[in-house]
Structures are given as structure tokens and as C-alpha cells.
């Protein structure tokens, strides 16, 4: 296995080495902190580095092992979280200027506590688009997250620092949030695996919200096994999250090696076979070739679903931020503010109609899963754009870049389906992403197919230069 203190170490490899006494959590943490110190000046992934806390946490992991206790399934694994997760002692800035004047969080977010209970070591908070209303990873207050594969390019967002930190080898795991694509987009642009679980699966307690109807949390990593390991540690009911479904933990790490054999896998056609650059569809074709999937399914009314997600997002986001828009509109990132102000004028009947359409759409899409087990689709319509890029050409039309990065992700998160974004490389250029979409509560199917693609060499991570 690789050096557990090195930049390409996996979470599983580190945890095994720490549990076996081959390396200490402290040594792993010190090495990760050194990588952050060396690379963050360029990549701008971390907004807060908590060296003292991390070393203290690592010391406790080592002490548990020395006392003969099990150090946990993520023993000594360094991780970091998008800065909308509460971190005790820090104001939860959520990418904003305004929120950094909040009182420091009194306790860690639920998912941070779960990972640390499993032995993982929090290194700090990560850059993100303001209030998560973003697909680029750019931020007017903290500067842009930069793509480790080409620092002149976007990481994607809004979990931009999460993508950058993992792709650069600073940490093997990061947590992000995904409302309309904010885990899957940076996973695609940075060449990572990212899991957006079923809506209501993981606790959102202690995270700063954006659009309650669509907000999800989940992990990004460099292998399917690492996602499974983290996801199993993240699961569990939490009375502090009223939107969480009453469903116990369903561990899946032992299931993902089952492979894709016997699964009915189809490719999304129509909307998901146009509106993007040819290499996005080449990435899907690569996955299809590796899996032997041949069928095509039509996800009905996907453009309307995307439009409805767009309207609900603007309205719920505006409602959330109404007081701040009244009191401090000049302190927002202009790109966020102007959309939120527009959102305050949306008629309620449009929003309710969008929610009613969502019900219709959900029923039609769920019916597809009577015929297929997993659906493949591109994650983004392009590779990582240049920082500052404002437009994109889609099917010959020049369109605003920001909203259109989510053209393939929004219709899926709109109804909360679990998705694993897998990194696919079709040439020596930048990575692309493929969405592996499963029925509700079947994260195991998405990860089984992702693992089959990884094993076949059709999906995987490459070291950043």
C-alpha cells in the first residue's frame, strides 16, 4: 500500500495503518498539515486550518490505541469540511462576509461529530461559494478555490474547497453540501468521487442551510471504498434534523464489491444527451462501454424539472436571507445578492406550482426504476472552465455559465435521488464526471456500479501535478 503519510494515501489505508500501529495518527496529521501549508497558498481550499485541534484529536486517537481500545474505522484519517458546517469555536461563515460576525459555534455539526467519533481528525474549514448559491467555487470575499489539476481553472462549486483539498492530496476526505449539484460538480471538475445520498438520509443538523427542499450533505474522496467507509460512519438517525427520514443506518461498505453484474443499467437520453460538450458524452460512453450497458431511458420532462428547481431555489434562498437583504445587502457577494433580491419578488403561486410539479415528476421518475436499477448521465456540460469565465456555448447558443453548469445535476437532486459522481478521463486533459443515479435509499447500487467502473479502470482519480 502507499505511504499512509503521503498525499495519495486513502482513508482506508490510513485507518488500517493506524489500527495496526504502523503509523501514528499524529504523524499522519502532521504530514497532512504540512501539505496544507505547502499548497493552500496557491489553491485556496482551506479558509480555516485548525492545527492545534487536529493534533489534539490525533493524540486522543493514538492514546485510545495505546490503551488497547479500538481506534475506530476512520482512525487517524484527516478530513476537512465546507465552511457551512459548524465547527466549535468558529463562526459558521458559509462563504459569506456577513456570517463571520456570528457567535462562534457552540458545538460541531452532527456529521463532524460522527466522523470524529469514528476516529477521523478534523483539519479545518473549506472555501465555498457564498451561501452555497454557486456552481463555480469562486468567492468574492475569500477568493476562488483553484483546481489542483490546473490552478487557472475553477474547482466547481459550491463545495469548491472540498474538491480542491481532496484533489490536491491535502486530505483524503472532505464533506460538502449539494442542493443542485454542489458535490457532484466539484467532483467532476476536480476528478473525484462524490456521494450525494438520498434526500433525508444524513443529518443536516449544525450546517448552514440554503434551500431546505433540496439540501443534502455528503462526502468527496479519491476512491469508492473511502466514500463507503465515510458514508457508513455518517449514517444514523438524528432528532436534531426535522427533515431526516426515520430510517436507521444501512451500512454498505461490505456490499460495494458485489459489482454491477445482474444490475439493469441504462443511460439517460434526451435532455442528458444534448446541452453539453462532446467529451461529456464521451465520458458517459466510456462508462457504458465498461459496464456493457446498452439501454436508454428518457427521464420525462427533465428541462421542466430543472426550471422548477431553479425557481424553488431562488425563492427559498431569498426567504432564508430576507433579513440580511434588508439590513446589509451591500455586504453580499454581488452575484449572490442580485439573484436573492430577484427571488424576493417571485409570486408564491409559482413556487407552489413548482412543488406540485415536483410531485408529478417524482412519480414518473420512480416508475423508471421498475425497469432499471441504475441510470447513468453526465455530471456537467463541460470540463472545468477558466476562473472568471462568464458564458458557455451549449448546442451553439452562448448562455450564462453559472446557472448552466447544473444542467444535468439539478433534475436529479430535485427529487432527492442518491447519486455517486465518478471521475472519468477521456484523454490527457481535465477530468469529467458521470452521475451514477439510483432509486431512493439505494446508495449501495450507486456505489456498486461506481466501484465496478473503478475496478474496470473506467473511473478513478489521478494525482494532481
Amino acid at each position: 500500500m502507499s505511504d499512509p503519510t503521503g498525499p495519495d494515501a486513502t482513508a482506508a489505508g490510513i485507518a488500517a495503518a493506524v489500527a495496526a500501529g504502523e503509523v501514528t495518527a499524529q504523524a499522519v496529521t502532521e504530514a497532512a498539515l504540512a501539505r496544507v501549508a505547502a499548497r493552500n497558498g496557491l489553491l485556496n481550499a482551506f479558509t480555516d486550518v485548525l492545527a492545534a485541534r487536529a493534533l489534539a484529536t490525533a493524540g486522543r486517537v493514538d492514546a485510545r490505541r495505546a490503551a488497547g481500545e479500538r481506534p475506530g474505522p476512520l482512525a487517524g484519517v484527516p478530513f476537512a469540511v465546507k465552511n457551512l458546517f459548524d465547527i466549535e469555536g468558529l463562526p459558521t461563515r458559509a462563504g459569506s462576509l456577513i456570517n463571520r460576525e456570528r457567535a462562534p459555534a457552540a458545538r460541531d455539526a452532527a456529521l463532524v461529530r460522527r466522523l470524529e467519533a469514528a476516529g477521523a481528525v478534523l483539519l479545518g474549514g473549506l472555501n465555498m461559494g457564498e451561501y452555497a448559491y454557486d456552481f463555480t467555487g469562486e468567492n468574492a470575499h475569500d477568493g476562488p478555490s483553484r483546481n489542483p489539476h490546473d490552478p487557472s481553472r475553477m474547482t466547481g462549486g459550491s463545495s469548491g474547497g472540498s474538491g480542491g483539498a481532496v484533489a490536491a492530496g491535502m486530505v483524503p476526505l472532505a464533506l460538502g453540501s449539494d442542493t443542485n449539484g454542489s458535490i457532484r460538480v466539484p467532483a467532476a471538475f476536480c476528478g473525484l468521487f462524490g456521494l450525494k445520498p438520498t434526500y433525508g438520509r444524513l443529518s443536516r443538523a449544525g450546517s448552514f442551510p440554503f434551500v431546505s427542499s433540496f439540501d443534502h450533505l455528503g462526502p468527496l474522496g479519491r476512491s469508492v471504498d473511502d466514500l463507503a467507509l465515510a458514508y457508513d460512519a455518517l449514517q444514523g438517525e438524528d432528532p436534531d434534523d426535522p427533515a431526516q427520514a426515520p430510517r436507521g443506518a444501512e451500512p454498505l461498505r461490505g456490499l460495494v464489491e458485489a459489482g454491477a453484474e445482474g444490475l439493469r443499467i441504462a443511460v439517460a437520453g434526451g435532455h442528458f444527451a444534448r446541452n453539453g460538450d462532446p467529451e461529456c458524452f464521451a465520458a458517459v460512453a466510456r462508462a457504458v462501454g465498461a459496464l456493457g450497458a446498452a439501454a436508454t431511458v428518457e427521464i420525462p420532462e427533465a428541462p421542466r424539472a430543472r426550471a422548477a428547481a431553479f425557481v424553488i431555489t431562488a425563492a427559498e434562498g431569498a426567504a432564508l436571507h430576507l433579513d440580511r437583504l434588508r439590513e446589509r445587502p451591500a455586504d453580499f457577494d454581488p452575484a449572490t445578492r442580485d439573484r436573492l433580491i430577484a427571488g424576493t419578488a417571485i409570486p408564491a403561486v409559482w413556487v407552489m406550482r413548482a412543488q406540485r410539479f415536483r410531485r408529478w415528476y417524482r412519480e414518473r421518475v420512480l416508475a423508471l426504476f421498475e425497469e432499471v436499477d441504475v441510470i447513468l448521465a453526465p455530471a456537467t456540460p463541460c470540463r472545468a472552465p477558466a476562473l472568471g469565465q462568464a458564458t458557455i456555448v451549449m448546442d451553439g447558443a452562448t448562455l450564462p455559465l453559472r446557472p448552466n453548469i447544473g444542467v444535468f445535476t439539478q433534475p436529479i437532486s430535485f427529487i432527492g435521488l442518491p447519486v455517486c459522481a465518478v471521475p472519468v478521463w477521456v484523454d490527457e486533459g481535465l477530468p469529467l464526471g458521470v452521475q451514477v443515479i439510483a432509486p431512493p435509499w439505494r446508495e449501495d447500487l450507486a456505489l456498486r456500479v461506481a466501484r465496478a467502473l473503478e475496478r474496470a479502470g473506467a473511473a478513478g482519480c489521478r494525482a494532481a501535478p
Binding site: A243, V311, A314, M352, Q355
Partner: protein, 68 residues
């Protein structure tokens, strides 16, 4: 099928709607922001027109707590 929607109002009408909403909500909008706010609202209005004409049964209720 629902009745056809009227054409999207012109910019002056949309701006009047935005100004009224800002006034009602107590949001101070710098005049320099209005073009971008308008562009964003027009994008929302166009998106809404993608699904507003779509026929739905009266029984298509949104779930109070959405369950995937």
C-alpha cells in the same frame, strides 16, 4: 390544458414588480444593482413559464415533508 400564459411582460413592467416587492419587503436596492436583479428575475420568470402551463391534477399535492 390550462389557458395559455400571456407574454412575458416587458422590462419596465418587470422592474415595477421588482420595485414594489423591494418596497414591500423593505430591501434597499442600489440603482446600480437593478440591471442584474432584473436579468435574474427575467431568468426566473422564463423558468416558471417552463412548468406553469404543464397540466397537473388537483390531487398533485406537494408533500409537507418531502420524502424521496
Amino acid at each position: 390544458m390550462p389557458a395559455d400564459l400571456p407574454p412575458l411582460p416587458d422590462d419596465a413592467t418587470l422592474l415595477a414588480l421588482l420595485d414594489a416587492a423591494a418596497l414591500a419587503n423593505g430591501i434597499p436596492v442600489d440603482p446600480a444593482w437593478r440591471p442584474e436583479v432584473l436579468a435574474n428575475f427575467r431568468a426566473v420568470a422564463n423558468a416558471a413559464r417552463a412548468f406553469l402551463p404543464f397540466p397537473l391534477e388537483d390531487e398533485s399535492e406537494p408533500a409537507p415533508v418531502f420524502r424521496a
